[in-house]
Symmetry: C2
Subunit: 320 residues, 2 copies
């Protein structure tokens, strides 16, 4: 049985696993991993719904397609897989423009091509709202899972956090978002190449932080059977995040640690992985790789600021 | 580019293929087929929406899950593949019972286990309605495609037609359906074993008739570059179909040829495939295999009754 962190969505996954028994396997991981000769097929599925994950007033249909595909592709990045392709099932309302499915598929196709794959199939339906269900297919020789971090490892994070949440909150409030924050929300880049690089450089456990760093770190901790210590002041903040947090009276690092929809990777690497290697990563990938914490014996995630413990809750799709 | 029959859904697929160019491949087939060592991985995705494909007053959540998975698994049957597993993305309304996702997944798990596979992953979300997006994964050494039928082949159909449409129409009208017709709608059986048997016995082209025999035969004809002659009197009718058709003043065979949601297979087999072999099929699989037509030079589907040409339209999800 998959060891997941706390939360109502994960209680549901636990209940489904209990009911299905041998009829299910590997639920709750970033990807299903099927042995395939000398490597694995990596598979994951993700559904984006109008009114839940996006509104059509905020994003173009192409952006909605890109975002849905990028979110699913991020699960391949999280196991260090390369992209083979995607399948996409779409529903659009009768009142949508006639080329709505073409525009959605265009965004899905662009995100998939940017990640190195092709659109392999789909299904089109009429529905009351725009729905995009994307299934991604990848391949990986040595998958990195959520389990595998050991005390003494250190935690590294790709990119910067909080931008997507800053963009989303501005859109929800009817404000013009900071352009970089809007881009982080509308046009996230799945870290496929970064995931492969980290896997090749010894990552022992990995997860994407699309449900928020705090919540997703709890899954990695639960799966690995360790505690993760993350000082909030180490979290790199995306453009526009500090301002967005202050406008809400929130601490910027807490804002970033809570905020979901950042498709960045959190990896546990042995202590021998140095700052010099992180510099190599940055030169090769063009994005930062930041030391954000340590793996320790114990359980759960210990957030702190200035050495003082901090409690905050993650972002739970099912609760929103 | 995939050669499809006429219809607005298929015009959309053609427009998507034209826009995506090299970013897409094999859209519009029953399955995507990825070469994998000496065999192929077969992949397909299908979305079922409350209010479009079902209503929650008609079916239990388990039946909704079964039906959604069976419809997707039928695409594996259509290429002669065996089931590996499925991924399922679900949305349920906030007002749904707390174990709604467990009940949906239970139905998906049962249909998948009955087809020889396991549930490999999923995604859970809140939405305004029940949505089930199922992606199926299979494997097949020698896939049977829609292209491949040649003049002189004969057309064979598994099972009987019209039952699902009879059940659906009774439910829509608020009547108690014939129990067999209700079962055909609520609990369709994907013809995985039948598809493998037909592939092993020389099927040159195959398709499932879930969009209606008339419409799906047009896809097989277009992909193979042939004409299909189907005398309507040969179509085997499901239980309750003749009564349901007469109540609507429709010819029962036309009713059955038009009606979708029957997850039966239409296969083109060489003329050497005999009635004796069909008897073997029936003993091995426990369902009928009926000679329903011939493959001829030309294009399109020629339906007839008593030797006279008949025109009817298929069932198009996107038009409903």
């Amino acid at each position: 049985v998959t060891r997941l962190g706390p939360g109502p969505e994960f209680d549901r996954i636990r209940a489904i696993e209990a009911r299905l028994g041998e009829r299910a396997s590997g639920l709750g991981d970033d990807c299903a991993l099927l042995p395939l000769g000398t490597e694995y097929l990596a598979l994951s599925t993700d559904m984006s719904l109008e009114g839940v994950h996006f509104r059509t007033e905020w994003l173009s249909l192409e952006e909605i397609g890109w975002r849905a595909a990028a979110g699913a592709l991020s699960d391949l990045a999280a196991v260090g897989a390369e992209t083979v392709g995607v399948l996409a099932a779409l529903s659009t309302p009768a009142a949508a423009p006639p080329d709505a499915t073409v525009a959605l598929m265009e965004g899905i196709g662009r995100a998939t091509a940017a990640a190195g794959g092709t659109v392999l199939g789909g299904d089109l339906a009429r529905g009351a709202a725009v729905t995009v269900a994307v299934t991604v297919i990848g391949r990986v020789a040595r998958p990195v899972r959520r389990a595998g971090a050991v005390p003494g490892d250190r935690l590294w994070l790709t990119g910067k956090l909080g931008g997507a949440r800053a963009g989303l909150l501005a859109l929800e409030a009817g404000h013009q978002p900071d352009p970089a924050a809007r881009e982080a929300f509308a046009h996230p880049v799945p870290r496929i190449e970064a995931g492969k690089w980290l896997a090749a450089h010894g990552a022992r456990a990995m997860i994407d932080v699309s449900d928020g760093l705090a919540g997703d770190a709890a899954h990695l901790a639960a799966a690995s059977g360790v505690s993760l210590a993350i000082p909030l002041e180490r979290i790199p903040l995306g453009a526009g995040v500090a301002d967005a947090a202050r406008r809400r009276g929130e601490d910027p690092a807490e804002f970033a640690a809570r905020g979901g929809e950042d498709y960045e990777l959190l990896a546990a690497l042995p202590a021998g992985f140095t700052t010099a290697l992180a510099g190599e990563f940055e030169r090769a990938l063009g994005i930062p790789l930041t030391l954000v914490g340590e793996v320790q014996a114990g359980a759960g995630v210990a957030l702190s600021r200035g050495g003082t413990s901090v409690t905050l809750t993650g972002f739970d799709h099912f609760a929103c």
